[in-house]
């Protein structure tokens, strides 16, 4: 079988060449590959997915607000990507291990992150606000693509332990240009590691369209490494759940890695430092707004009579509560003592750093009790 570039397989124009179970208008449509994986999904489960996505969107809104109010140094919005994040994360087992990028607020939420876990890193208080071994989530990665190798290594560890967990790597379309992502696929394939790659193709790597990263759909690359892939509608939370269940089952049952390209859209800026009006037009954003993951699930829930005003109010209140807790955790976070800047560089004593610590401590002691003057 030969894979070649063709004019019809274009990563930019073929955004509807995807597997999905819910259309943009919320109609449930059949799909032979995805249907078997969601036969058990009932209205309650769909309502839970809706609740998750609503809370994640509220987390995102609050994050942007906190940044605009000067409480956070930066925020990386995920509005528009709730479908792939919640859908895939809900398919994971708690003992699976996730290696996320910095934009995966929805994955963190589903994994059980606390309100403060969303703000303290962006506030600059900590590099990672949670214990990776509590959530089974690695500290979110900023170097795009580096975490894909970590996930493969972790999966190789699972193999050696004879366990049936899966490692999942989340990354964006921009990361697929990185050597690390390609090396990760080589290693995963060569060692048949139980790892699932989840590429959220949100169309833009800061200002660069996905067409700069490749002229062929990203999911088309994985088969070249010997890794089966699915290209799905990332704004369809049900399809995302189904695809991830397929991928996880594939990896868990010893068949090796699997790859998902979730075609989605980042509705906001890359980060709060970015101005997307400089590089993309309003019409495009509006076209994607019509494919919104929340409104389409709401439409579907209404069509099966599973969405009423009580449910909507309950979900909205839960989201507001979470956001309020986020804000409270953010505002209440005390900055660490100055000497804390030297903590945790090494696990064991390091004479050079220990000497610097002693010198810095002596310097700080020179301020005596005058805490105000302390730097």
């Amino acid at each position: 079988m030969t894979y070649t570039w063709t004019g019809t397989a274009d990563t930019a124009t073929d955004i509807d060449d995807v597997a999905r179970l819910l259309t943009a208008r919320g109609e449930r449509i059949p799909h032979p590959d995805l249907d078997p994986w969601v036969r058990d999904v009932d209205a309650d489960m769909l309502r839970m997915l809706y609740r998750d996505m609503t809370i994640v969107r509220r987390i995102d809104t609050e994050g942007v607000a906190l940044q605009r109010q000067g409480q956070l140094g930066l925020w990386a919005p995920c509005q528009g990507q709730e479908g792939v994040q919640v859908g895939t994360a809900r398919a994971l087992r708690q003992d699976d291990f996730v290696f996320p990028s910095y934009r995966e607020a929805g994955v963190l939420y589903v994994r059980g992150a606390r309100p403060g876990d969303f703000t303290l890193t962006w506030r600059g208080e900590e590099h990672s606000s949670f214990d990776p071994y509590e959530l089974n989530v690695a500290t979110p990665q900023i170097i795009i693509g580096a975490q894909t190798l970590h996930a493969v290594g972790y999966a190789m560890g699972i193999q050696r332990d004879g366990d049936d967990q899966v490692a999942a790597a989340y990354f964006g379309d921009g990361a697929t240009s990185q050597g690390d992502v390609n090396e990760a696929m080589v290693f995963a394939s060569s060692f048949q590691a139980p790892v699932v790659f989840v590429c959220s193709n949100n169309q833009w790597a800061i200002s660069e369209p996905v067409t700069v990263q490749g002229k062929f759909p990203i999911a088309g690359r994985a088969p070249g490494f010997g890794i089966p892939s699915l290209r799905i509608d990332g704004n369809d939370v049900l399809g995302s759940l189904a695809a991830m269940r397929w991928a996880l089952d594939h990896a868990r049952s010893g068949k090796g890695p699997a790859f998902i390209e979730a075609v989605t859209y980042r509705m906001g800026p890359h980060t709060t430092s970015d101005d997307p009006t400089r590089y993309r037009d309003k019409d495009e954003v509006e076209r994607w707004r019509a494919r919104d993951p929340l409104t389409r699930l709401e439409a579907h829930l209404r069509s099966i009579d599973a969405f009423d005003e009580d449910f909507a109010r309950d979900v909205s209140e839960a989201a507001d509560r979470f956001a309020a807790d986020m804000r409270a955790a953010c505002l209440a976070s005390p900055s660490r003592e100055p000497i804390g800047v030297l903590d945790h560089v090494y696990a064991e004593p390091h004479a050079g750093l220990d000497e610097q610590r002693a010198q810095f401590a002596a310097y700080l002691d020179g301020f005596g009790d005058d805490q105000e003057a302390k730097p």
Binding site: H150, D180, E183, Y346
Partner: protein, 336 residues
């Protein structure tokens, strides 16, 4: 005691560490069937199996990056970078991931990754096979960096590096791989000198000569030659490049008052600059002369036929010894 080459001693250290701890595993290019291009891992595949002696794809970032994931999972990976000049593709994973994850996670994630690097020149190798990248790693907080210079020390220090909960960049001078020495294979780790200490390999009273790696042997030759000139050299093998053992160094300098530092790596921003700054801060009042450094030139590593002009040799170091003793030397009368 068994007489063996340094390559064999390092292999024995790997074997011992793998026996002592089932979470230790090896990764690298050609380390399995071939036993490594220097045969350091010879026999380990047969002994421990492919799950623990992993022949990897030819991708250095992949090797180190997957080791990060294995460490997340609680393994203690020992990776072999086939040659010094091949470590650069893995630089991001080493300095941004391996070095930082403990700090980034406030100590919740440990990275007990040992990165073995066959290192430095003097073996007539092709381009990219004789680099001295140690300063890059010493400059990276979160890493420990060591360089070995004899079989017994290599055997013990490698086991210490693997047992350490911190990541260690472990430099193995290719020039010494085939040099033999006595190794006590039953030596207890608890009895070994800590990994962070320097070692006085020859005592003397007039000049302290500081170096590491294969240059330790050159330094010993210098000490013998200087003795004929009536100069008593104290030679110190730094062993640990991060941290640098200034306690041992300062003790020596306070005795001799004169310092020469030599290494193969280029001069600018190199370890000699760091060591001399550290010595000056601690021992300024004891110094009888400005410290001198004898290093590789600030050039890309030269072609093999020219490398003897790049590597600091006996005569260039003796010239620097003359400088710190205020004897006539090549820089006498030269404006600096």
């Amino acid at each position: 005691m068994t007489s063996m080459t340094m390559a064999a001693a390092i292999g024995a250290g790997l074997r011992r560490a793998m026996k002592d701890d089932p979470r230790v595993l090896l990764m690298g290019e050609d380390i399995g069937r071939l036993g490594g291009v220097f045969r350091v891992t010879d026999g380990l595949l047969d002994e421990f199996g492919a799950a623990r002696v992993i022949d990897t794809p030819l991708a250095e970032s992949g090797i180190v990056g997957t080791a990060v994931g294995l460490a997340y999972r609680g393994f203690r990976p020992v990776v072999e970078i086939q040659f010094d000049g091949f470590v650069y593709p893995a630089f991001d994973q080493i300095v941004c991931q391996v070095a930082k994850l403990h700090y980034r996670t406030a100590g919740r994630v440990r990275m007990p990754v040992t990165i073995r690097i066959p290192w430095a020149g003097g073996v007539g190798a092709a381009e990219h096979h004789s680099e001295s990248p140690e300063a890059y790693f010493v400059h990276t907080s979160g890493l420990r960096v060591v360089a070995v210079s004899d079989p017994q020390d290599a055997y013990m220090m490698l086991r210490q590096a693997i047992a350490s909960d911190d990541p260690v960049v472990f430099f193995e001078p290719k020039r010494l791989y085939h040099r033999k020495g006595d190794v006590d294979l039953d030596a207890d780790l608890a009895d070994a000198a800590p990994m962070g200490l320097a070692r006085v390999v020859r005592e003397g009273t007039d000049v302290t000569l500081l170096t590491y790696g294969a240059q330790v042997l050159t330094a010993m030759d210098v000490a013998v030659a200087a003795e004929d000139d009536g100069v008593s050299m104290e030679v110190i093998d730094l062993r640990s490049l991060s941290p640098i053992d200034y306690r041992t160094i300062a003790g020596s300098v306070r005795k001799t008052g004169r310092v020469v530092v030599t290494h193969e790596a280029p001069r600018e921003g190199g370890l000699a600059a760091e060591v001399i700054a550290g010595v000056t801060e601690r021992c300024f009042d004891y110094l009888e002369a400005a410290p001198a450094r004898v290093t590789g030139h600030d050039i890309p590593y030269p072609p093999a036929k020219l490398e003897k002009h790049h590597l600091p040799d006996l005569d260039r170091i003796l010239d620097a010894v003359d400088r710190v003793l205020d004897r006539p030397n090549s820089l006498t009368g030269v404006e600096r």
